[in-house]
């Protein structure tokens, strides 16, 4: 490759380029804005959006059935009162975390490979948090009273209980969604201005003009913009860590064996990033293929995501190991029984599947041929997504079904409505992602302009 590519100057050992050698301002702008403005959607887009829309229909049916009859249509009962709803909530919110990690933490670390995937990953965060938010609302039983969770001057003269981690969760998740939305919108403004200046139909120009708020790329504005963007990255970083920490408090503040553990916050945060990167890979790989974006989202991006997955996966594996070790080392009969039951009890096969999908299969990323192979990364990412879902199932269902007193034990299995609701939220997520890539620039144009090769007029010197 030509020696003037800017990434050669970063001093990494990496030889794979961040962006195709022939790219310049015009080609970056044309490729990315063309997807929104001029190119007709490829057939695969209609297939993807169609499947998503179909599953959204399923979600509407499942939610209607649920609202008509109540949460009894799900498999939940005492002792397992949380079941699929909370498994899916934790799974989805964890998936969202990769978006913030890519946009905020990698921004602070000046990792330039984030620039091709951050917009996309931030959108993924928003939609994943929407999916996550549905489950606690559905699980409320009377979701139309959700606003009772917020402090407001009510005529009933009652207020939320701020000593409860469930109230912390409300604040953590709603703050997370709001801050992610602000961060995403702020980063979109310069690109919306590009779309405003390129769109042909007047009505479309007007819509983008309103959304772009009159952005004109003034040097004074960029100066403030970069500072605001950096600070948002700086405050989103502790936020993303706090959100999954608070989610883990939902468990660890409780006394149930298998929940009441101080390792939960770091282990949950690592697991969240793990599944989130897996979801970014699962989405990126087909979309770069459908839209021919291999020049902008290169194999190097995919490889780095695989490496982050491997690193966070090892932290998660360490978490499993310590859970087992502490259960044994504590000498506490309930903890020891919990661990034995988790491995060899009624739900034992879930545990071994979890070990297979979440711990063993991802170790393949150590092999260079695997982490630079697109299909292999795709399959490993699917394995991680399934594994992380199993992890939450094991933590929630196995622990609740066998607590301290055998007389309180019970069994749990999801019903068809549990599965349909989960499938429905996956469809909602897919549909929203496909709409997003059709309606907004899925890659940040202004940030990619910053890494185009110098001989094409790029700013890097």
């Amino acid at each position: 490759m030509p020696p003037e590519l800017p990434h050669r100057a970063t001093g990494t050992l990496e030889e794979l380029p961040l962006i195709g050698a022939g790219q310049d301002y015009a080609s970056v702008t044309e490729t990315i804005s063309g997807i929104v403005l001029t190119r007709p959607a490829p057939p695969a887009w209609y297939v993807g959006a169609g499947v998503g829309a179909l599953l959204v229909g399923v979600l509407l049916v499942a939610a209607t059935w649920l609202f008509s009859w109540g949460v009894g249509v799900w498999g939940i009962d005492i002792p397992v009162g949380w079941g699929f709803a909370i498994v899916n909530f934790v799974w989805w919110i964890g998936i969202g975390h990769a978006g913030t990690l890519i946009s905020a933490i990698l921004l602070l670390m000046r990792q330039r490979w984030r620039q091709s995937i951050n917009r996309f990953a931030e959108a993924m965060t928003l939609f994943a948090v929407m999916c996550a938010g549905m489950f606690p609302l559905f699980h409320l039983g009377r979701p139309w009273f959700f606003y009772w969770l917020f402090p407001y001057p009510s005529t009933m003269w009652v207020q939320p209980q701020f000593r409860s981690p469930l109230v912390w969760d409300v604040f953590a998740v709603s703050t997370y969604f709001t801050v992610s939305l602000l961060f995403w919108y702020l980063g979109l403004i310069p690109d919306l201005a590009t779309l405003r200046d390129r769109a042909q139909p007047v009505w479309l120009r007007r819509i983008f003009a309103i959304l772009a708020m009159g952005w004109r790329g003034s040097a004074a504005h960029w100066f403030n913009f970069e500072m605001a963007y950096l600070l948002l990255g700086g405050i989103a970083t502790p936020l993303v860590v706090s959100v999954h920490t608070v989610v883990s408090f939902d468990f660890s503040i409780g006394l149930v064996p298998g929940w009441h553990s101080t390792i939960f916050p770091p282990y949950f945060v690592a697991g969240a990033i793990y599944s989130g990167f897996a979801m970014v890979l699962v989405l990126t790989i087909p979309i770069r293929k459908i839209y021919g974006l291999e020049e902008l989202i290169t194999i190097r991006h995919l490889k780095h995501m695989g490496e982050v997955m491997l690193a966070t996966g090892l932290i998660v594996a360490y978490g499993y190991l310590m859970e087992a070790f502490i259960a044994w080392y504590s000498g506490n009969i309930f903890e020891r029984y919990m661990m034995w039951n988790r491995m060899f009890g009624h739900y034992g096969y879930f545990f071994w599947l979890l070990m297979l999908f979440n711990v063993l299969i991802p170790q393949l990323i150590w092999i260079k041929r695997v982490r630079t192979s697109v299909p292999a990364l795709f399959l490993i990412a699917l394995s991680v997504l399934y594994g992380m879902w199993l992890e939450r199932y094991v933590i929630i269902v196995v622990s609740l079904s066998r607590d301290f007193t055998p007389s309180a034990w019970g069994q749990y299995a999801g019903t068809i409505w549990d599965y349909l609701t989960l499938a429905g939220t996956i469809g909602f997520f897919v549909l929203m992602m496909f709409l997003f890539i059709r309606l907004l620039p899925m890659i940040s144009m202004f940030e990619l302009r910053g890494i185009v090769p110098r001989r094409s007029g790029g700013p890097t010197s």
Binding site: F171, D197, G214, R216, A219, A220, N224, I235, F446, S461
Partner: protein
């Protein structure tokens, strides 16, 4: 009372960031102050070259964050101690360690809102009808060209002399910006 200017200024169009940066430095040296540059991506050092020394964004975010922190804690204190006191397992009414997570989240929320709203206020956005949009070629400012605008309100601005000065900086073209 002076008549309002019929022109906003003169806009020089450049091909790349380097030429724009050099032009901005030269214009600042030549004594021009009321000017602005327009670029499709942030250009390092450009704001400094134009004489912009500081940004108020960090202070606004700090104040917003502090407000969120104090307000968030007080909200919980007021509810738990004054408005709706509940004895939960003999814990003190002001069980402040339990109030930390929500205080933290509200700190972040307020800081984020002040970053975004503060940015818009400092940039005076939304402002969809700025005079530079009157130049047809300006649509390239969000795509791949770089612009330097010397405004008529600059005390050193003199139509012919400034145009000659800008033309000497090696632009593609110098445009009139109607007000």
């Amino acid at each position: 009372m002076s008549t309002p200017p019929v022109s906003h200024g003169l806009l020089a169009e450049f091909d790349d960031a380097k030429s724009l940066l050099a032009a901005a430095r030269r214009a600042y040296q030549a004594g021009y102050r009321r000017m602005d540059a327009y670029t499709p991506l942030p250009v390092e050092g450009l704001a400094e070259a134009l004489g912009i020394r500081r940004t108020w964004v960090p202070l606004i975010v700090l104040l917003g964050g502090l407000g969120g922190c104090l307000g968030g804690f007080f909200l919980q204190y007021w509810i738990a101690v004054m408005d709706y006191p509940i004895n939960a397992g003999g814990r003190p009414l002001n069980s402040w360690p339990s109030f930390i997570p929500v205080t933290f989240e509200l700190t972040i929320l307020a800081a984020a809102f002040s970053a975004v709203i503060g940015l818009f206020a400092l940039c005076r956005l939304p402002w969809p009808s700025h005079p530079v949009f009157n130049v047809p070629a300006f649509e390239q400012a969000t795509q791949g060209r770089f612009f330097l605008c010397i405004e008529t309100r600059d005390p050193r601005f003199a139509a012919e002399e400034t145009r000659r000065f800008l033309a000497g900086l090696g632009p593609r073209e110098v445009h009139d910006v109607p007000a």
